[in-house]
Symmetry: C2
Subunit: 213 residues, 2 copies
């Protein structure tokens, strides 16, 4: 993708990336995005689950939701996915920062009308959170599909911003007797908690075993 006026990383341009591989890798490692849009003249930011397949992102929700109804009109949106990987402690407050991977997408959403495309998009969203979970669950029925809207967003204006590694202190500060380094931030999955009403004898599914392994 070419950096555009909107996606070009202006602050610390060395941290900016525009290639699909980098952008998609960050998207694929996450499942929550923040969507910004304009409602009655005011900016609104709402978090939601997303899925990616090819050059499209999918989001879903209740058909009557304000965000989906607004976005289905094809208004402009901005979308952010951010993953924090570490706290970077420099010797100075000024050079202290975070290690992170972040993607910003600009575009419009489009309501998916075709039922097969809609079901496939819901599969992508479900499997973005837990790969292959779709193959295990009771699939949506006609009534559920009717009250659910699914939107697609073409990823054609996007950029990533990444910071990794050690702190960068001013040379003069490196002599100070202050600890500097990185505290990694790690995401773990805890021990699965079975539904209190789960029938006896149903084992943990393959999808969950793979996720928490």
């Amino acid at each position: 993708m070419k950096p555009t006026k909107k996606t070009k990383v202006k602050r610390l341009p060395i941290r900016g990336f525009y290639d699909k591989e980098t952008v998609y890798k960050i998207l694929d490692a996450n499942f929550i995005c923040q969507i910004g849009f304009i409602h009655e003249g005011f900016p609104v930011v709402i978090p939601t689950i997303f899925g990616r397949k090819g050059d499209e992102l999918y989001i879903h929700g209740a058909s009557v939701s304000r965000m989906l109804t607004d976005l289905a009109k094809g208004i402009s949106l901005s979308l952010n996915v951010t993953q924090t990987n570490g706290i970077v402690l420099a010797r100075s407050a000024f050079n202290s920062t975070l290690n992170y991977e972040s993607v910003v997408v600009f575009g419009q959403a489009e309501l998916i009308v075709d039922e097969n495309e809609k079901v496939a998009a819901l599969e992508t969203i479900t499997n973005q959170i837990i790969p292959n979970r779709w193959q295990e669950v009771r699939l949506p029925n006609a009534k559920e599909l009717k009250v659910t809207s699914v939107l697609k967003i073409k990823i054609d204006e996007a950029s990533a911003k990444i910071r990794t590694g050690a702190p960068h202190d001013d040379i003069a500060d490196c002599d100070l007797p202050i600890w500097a380094g990185v505290i990694p931030i790690e995401k773990h999955y805890g021990k699965p908690i079975a539904d209190p009403v789960l029938k006896v004898g149903i084992p943990l599914p393959k999808s969950v075993k793979c996720l928490i392994k």
Copy 2:
């Protein structure tokens, strides 16, 4: 805080909270927010570090940053903080969801001009990430303060949305031989990685020891 037209949780209103205690608890457990604003007619969402003290949020960045320059004009903004606590696996795709805590704030930012107030706000931001780190670092000098803008956002229009607990399947689905439950999502701090150029004999500081304990 009173729910306003903007902050009232419309979808699943049972998940909506408007009391300061709930809203501030979520804000205080996090340090990344997504800020939405309108730039040249388009919505933009940018992640940034924040700190909270009293009824104010603080954000900072390079004085020349587009976001800070725009926001310093007092334009409307929306801000979201989201923490995901678990994957909720229902027997049906339709009832599968996440456990999360999320806050949305609407308001305007104001540039902090007073130098003491600015330094105090930077202290709040630094300590939001690691409590008491400010007491250990080399504090900002005049030159660093000059190239940094700090903005304050009064929290007077805000709401929280929270989901906790087990999946809620349709009664008919509960007989299906499908596993249901919650996979907790846990954030951990990893082993601190000292700066490769850290002088020998500087121990881990108190702030880090408390954080990773």
